[in-house]
Amino acid sequence: MTKEEAESGRDDMVIDGDEKANAVPEGFDANYLRIYYGKLFPHADMFKWMSYGNDGKHPACDRSYIGRREFSFTLENDIYIRFQSFNSVTELENSIKEKCPFKIDIGPVYSVDPAKRHAYAQGGGDNVFTPVERELVFDIDITDYDDVRYCCTGADVCLECWPLMTIAIKVIDTALRDDFGFNHILWVYSGRRGVHCWVCDGKARRLTNEQRAAIADYFRVYKGNENSHKKISLPGPVLHPFLARSYTEVLKGFFEAKMLPNQNLLSCQERYEKILEMIPDASVASELRGRWQENKRASMSKDDINLVRWEQLKSVLQSGKQKTQGLRRCVEEVVFSFTYPRLDMEVSKHMNHLLKAPFCVHPKTGRVCVPIDPNNCDEFDPTTVPTLSQLVKELNRGGLRQDAENEWDGTSLGESVKFFRTSFLQPLLKSCKEEIESSYNAKLQQSKNTLNW
């Protein structure tokens, strides 16, 4: 529910003085947005996506399907309308163009058209108004990493800390495909400081809340806030294959090559204390502390001081002398606590959670929520994502076009729409069609069999 989303501390911690987040960026206003919805927003693609192949062309299509999907609009002046539903692409497009919502959220597919919900009971009984399908979604926000990044805080993001999102994508995407067997996964830039993930396989859409919670828990490693000390606990003599793979393929390399030196995690006492705090053995911690306090100024080699100290820490903790399991595991725990993805569990656990639609424009940054290619996520740069004003300028420069249909093609948005279509939408629709056909054929076969005597 957007209200809850808004209250979860994301947008409401703005205090006077934080001008950067508050200021309306150049050119974000309802008029520009109107042009965007008029010429650039991919209404038809979004509609096709949400229909999941139920376009009426096959006898087995469920014609009520798309009309049972909830959309919600946040209008100018924070007016918020829920339970919007549409039966055709024209209805969807006209409603968006007319209302010009600052934000569009997508909710679940309900048992009945949300517009008719008052006629049905809630909770228990046969005639209920309840979610029946919803993509498996994830929301990762960089403000949840504020305790491990020193370059920015709050709503800011830069190229130093953005890679934390990149590795989160890598870890989760690999697990969704290899472990859970999902194929139709869309990663989207949230417009300011995070990423969303939409898992659209039929199996994913039909998961119950309990099953979603199980997947979220499978991904959960970081458990903490300022009240607890040890936020990562990796018990057991070895790691689960999922954690081990994430560590060796993604986290370790990133931590040692990028995060340590870029964030200067061991360069000064205030920072290295945080890491020393994670070592359960006080004598080991003080041994390292002693060494580092001595060598404060001496530069022993040309190598980055963070890397040098990390090697020292590793060799002390992983040396043969250490008897306790906990100590050897400590190195991984440090790496995990800095780099492992921090998901918002509540977003994933409930079918009725509303999530912002891709291709919306973020009202505070003016940036479009464009898809991210998980296979090339290293290349993604949040600071160069097209903005609303930039796109409108491009449109104006482009002049009149013959083809009023694909106006986005001549703009910076073109790449994103094309990627959305070829890498995500087309394979998804193909698979949906196949599913519809094969279940139809199976039913036909079944009824043939029962008729045979």
């Binding site: 911690m13 806030n225 999922f242």
Partner: protein, 464 residues
């Protein structure tokens, strides 16, 4: 009637478990009316005993013994087939008693599932396999060839849980991961391309999930049938017995909040120091300090304040005033007031939400920036100690609490902790913990406010 006969098995506790019914259909047996009630009462003693054991935080081995003892004490019958009948009949009678409300259904479901889980574990592996096929579980035994290819990963998973994989007699089943959410959540299985590789000893989880899901649906159907037809039909025979069973064992009904007194805004500060349990006190202090709380904290504290008698208008004034340094009045009205009114049942589907039970609070998952949850569970040892000392708990009592927390006894009667806090305000020198380890105090001894607070918490704990 579906009854699975397994061979008689003698465990080291001298418990002979001969049948494990799945309760799929009501037995077409003739039941004497007296037996109707007696059987149900015996089974209820078993279920209550289980409930008690769980809330005391007993470990699995202890629960195993407890359940075996309870069953032996109450459910035995000299004739084996009579024992099976009693088992089935008592289950179905209790379904009638416990189907009426969501709260009752939840409790019954939880206890019956626990009972089933442990009884299943007592069964031999052949019997277990037979039961699995009864459930028509979509599992496939893993072929030798496939086993070889995933053996390493399976071993890794086992070792990550501190177990070893004995390759020679390891039987694994391949199931769609959605069938075993518990195992997935705890990362206790290897998952590949949507399939989970479940060890034989984890099969219990599979089966129990099925049992639970079936019983959950059955209870709703039972409720419907009861209210629509049976209750009226049976009003001269079964109905009075069923209703008597309900009231005699359910204890006080705290679902009527009107019994609780009221709290006014000016008293809140004082009361928070004298009567709030630690979790609420922490939240209260944080909101005073930060002039903000994230959603989880607002719900936990907000509903608690409602439960102890803070009226809606006072609640709105309280939160608005607290947030004022950070949130303008207009913004408050726009972004927060609606949800507060919603909690009080004035918006949306108008549910009069009730405060969270300790169970729910303990099992919540506070994340970055959150302050809700149960301090005995979620705080680090150091922070918990500091919080207790600040409350004025004597150092000996603090150590005692820390000891219990370390042994994960926070699940043992959360009233203890609240009582601890209250007691420490008034009687520091008292020996709070007697030799058995737990002493339940009558909180009504203390000020009226304390009674209000504790009433909310007692009701939150399902103590029937």
């Amino acid at each position: 009637m579906e009854v699975v006969q397994s061979h008689r098995k003698s465990s080291s506790n001298n418990v002979i478990v001969s049948t494990l019914p799945l309760y799929r259909s009501a037995p077409p047996l003739e039941v004497r009316l007296e037996d109707f009630e007696l059987f149900a009462m015996d089974r209820l003693r078993v279920l209550k005993g289980i409930s008690d054991g769980l809330s005391r935080g007993k470990k699995p081995e202890e629960m195993e013994k407890l359940i075996a003892d309870l069953w032996k004490a109450h459910m035995r019958h000299p004739q084996a087939n009579e024992e099976a009948n009693k088992d089935i009949i008592s289950h179905f009678v209790l379904r009638l008693v416990y189907c009426r409300t969501e709260e009752l259904r939840k409790w019954f479901l939880s206890m019956e599932t626990t009972l089933f889980r442990y009884r299943f574990r007592f069964e031999s592996s052949e019997a277990q396999r037979a039961l699995m096929s009864e459930f028509k579980l979509p599992y496939k035994a893993v072929s030798n060839a496939e086993f070889e290819s995933v053996k390493d990963k399976l071993g890794q998973v086992a070792r990550s849980m501190g177990q070893t994989l004995v390759a020679t007699d390891a039987i694994f089943y391949k199931v769609p991961f959605e069938e075993v959410p518990e195992l997935v959540a705890g990362r206790r299985v290897f998952i590949h391309k949507g399939h989970a590789y479940v060890a034989m000893n984890q099969v219990v989880s599979l089966v129990v999930t099925q049992f639970r899901s079936y019983l959950s649906k059955a209870l709703i159907l039972t409720n419907r049938k009861w209210t629509s037809t049976v209750r009226e039909q049976e009003k001269d025979r079964m109905t009075p017995i069923v209703e008597a069973l309900c009231t005699s064992y359910l204890g006080p009904d705290y679902s009527q909040p009107s019994e609780v007194g009221e709290i006014s805004l000016k008293d809140i500060d004082q009361i928070s120091k004298t009567s709030f349990p630690l979790c609420m006190r922490h939240l209260f202090e944080k909101v005073r300090e930060d002039h903000h709380l994230k959603h989880g904290g607002r719900m936990q504290l907000g509903l608690f304040l409602k439960g102890v008698g803070l009226k809606l208008d006072d609640a709105l004034a309280f939160w608005k005033a607290e947030f004022a340094p950070k949130v303008s009045a207009e913004r408050f009205d726009k972004e927060y007031a609606y949800n507060i009114r919603h909690s009080y049942g004035r918006e949306g589907k108008r549910t009069d939400y009730t405060p969270y039970s300790c169970q729910k609070i303990i099992s919540s998952t506070p994340g970055v920036g959150d302050h809700h949850g149960c301090p005995y569970r979620h705080f680090s040892e150091e922070n918990l100690r500091v919080a207790l000392v600040r409350m004025g708990v004597s150092s000996r009592a603090v150590e005692d609490v820390m000891d219990k927390v370390r042994n994960r006894l926070y699940q043992n009667s959360p009233r203890l902790w609240m009582n601890l806090a209250l007691l420490c305000q008034f009687q520091e020198s008292n020996d709070v913990v007697n030799k058995q380890g737990v002493q339940e105090h009558n909180v009504a001894e203390f000020q009226g406010q304390a009674v209000a607070v504790s009433a909310v918490f007692q009701w939150g704990n399902l103590n029937f």
